[in-house]
Symmetry: C2
Subunit: 305 residues, 2 copies
């Protein structure tokens, strides 16, 4: 998994930070690339990365504030130049997102070349595939704002091929049988116990990406045990009242949530343009005192998981 | 007058050219700054200029294609951070623009801090002030697409102060009288003929800015005698059929219009991303063979008039 921050600012673009967009690339795991939020000029930011719009097949929108959705009509339109009928797109977002997309595309006489599905979401399980589950939860931002919890399923262990070969079992259809049955009897009547020849299952990872929100203890349960929590930190610790008045969080509040919910890693984003890059060291230090494995994202920051 | 091109590409943004937006700054003439079209990330482009969004007080939208309007909601929203009730904004655009703006702002819970007036336009005189007249004309782009003709009124000549002093007429209320009356009788009964003491009137300039369109001889009348014609040139001359099929123009067609309409200067913009910067010399040469005073705009090109 690879996470690329395309925009890490709050409210309006600055020279230093664009408005919100985060790419979660799971090409190896799922052959899918997901986009979280799509502020204005997200398609422009993508031009400076290796991420192809045509490869992005799911978009999740946390809430309907302009700095999180105004890039959507342009992104979806331009994607038509790269993606044909074999590259469907699904957009998940709050109530109103379906009308917003359909209205703006129609008004601008835009005809997409690929199939588009738009799903207005509620709390709970959004969808489940063989490999992954995605949950949504309503946060506290004055207007409906969602967090997403992406849960990779545990992968069964792999066949211990070398160990089988040592025992004289050559590769062939028998390997498939061992994978699927607890015991298999060989031609020489010896019995293979699957558990002896299967490695340890690979634990699935959990990534939680929250939209704009005030700090709430109620969010602990939702982000519990995340390998990675991506959380807004519009303000530094001394602006807690301001943060609360504008339905936002501080760096320390995000860190407290990560600590209390036993997360493994925290990345802060959605930083107010009042903060210069030169102030980010102090901003980060404040958060690290509460939760040490914290980073602050910049535009084009890439994190491997 | 100063013209700044913020976006000079066609259809979708590239690394080299953003989608359409043109600023016509008339700070000295009118204390006004006008924006023509507002493609996605126009507000981002402005960050790299000295033009303040709060200073822009009129926006003219040629047509409703996404690459000309998708930056509007973001621009209008962000302008609230710079402009209060004393900085009203008027948007002129085709039918549907009022609903587009009101809908997107409402949906994103955006409240502007300044008064916004939205005027859906037809052909003819859009408005007239003491100093300027603006006309609109429907072009040929498959959907309604407008051109704008901005006509500065001639300015009366200035009082020839030195000449009056030589004649012994000292500065005072008498100067105002001379300015306003064909003849004025002085205390010594000598008569001042205004025409002898007023300099030559300053000819107003004409600027024509056309939206996307195919080449039409019918446009000659509308852009006639323009000091500056800004015209799209999506394609080079060899793509005339393609241009026509997509309701666009070639470089040579734009140059022919400028020549036939006795324009003084032509600037080409809205260049397809199929053309690299390295091809622009040839692209420009083609047009110059038809109309020599031609330029091709790049993003952040500035022209003085
Ligand atoms: Zn936000
Ligand atoms: Zn266009």
């Amino acid at each position: 998994m690879e996470i690329t921050f395309l925009g890490t600012g709050a409210g309006l673009p600055s020279k230093e930070r664009n408005v919100t967009a985060i790419v979660l690339s799971m090409l190896q795991e799922l052959n899918e690339v997901w986009l979280f939020d799509c502020g204005e000029a997200t398609q422009h930011q993508l031009l400076h990365t290796k991420i192809k719009p045509g490869k992005i097949n799911k978009i999740f929108l946390t809430h309907m504030h302009g700095d999180h959705i105004y890039g959507l009509p342009g992104f979806l339109s331009s994607r038509s130049f790269q993606a044909g009928t074999d590259r469907p797109m699904t957009v998940y977002g709050p109530e109103g997102i379906k009308d917003f997309i359909e209205y703006t595309l129609k008004l601008s006489h835009t005809h997409l070349t690929y199939p588009l599905t738009i799903i207005e979401i509620n709390e709970g399980l959004l969808f489940e595939t063989e490999a992954i589950k995605v949950y949504a939860k309503k946060l506290a931002h004055g207007i409906p704002s969602f967090g997403f919890r992406i849960v990779e399923k545990d992968k069964p262990g792999e066949l211990l091929v070398e160990k089988l070969k040592e025992k004289g079992v050559r590769p062939g259809p028998i390997y498939g049988e061992i994978k699927e049955n607890p015991t298999v009897t060989l031609e020489d009547d010896s019995v293979i116990h699957q558990k002896d020849f299967i490695g340890r299952p690979k634990k699935g990872r959990i990534i939680s990406i929250l939209g704009d929100t005030t700090y709430q203890t109620a969010h602990e349960e939702f982000v519990k045990n995340s390998d990675l929590l991506i959380h807004e930190a519009t303000f530094a610790a001394d602006k807690e009242t301001l943060a609360s008045n504008y339905f936002h969080s501080t760096n320390i509040q995000a860190a407290k949530l990560a600590a209390d919910a036993s997360c493994k890693q925290l990345i802060l984003t959605h930083i107010s343009s009042r903060y210069q890059f030169s102030e980010m060291d102090a901003f980060l230090e404040e958060a690290r005192e509460m939760f040490s494995n914290t980073s602050v994202a910049s535009d084009f920051s890439v994190f491997q998981l």
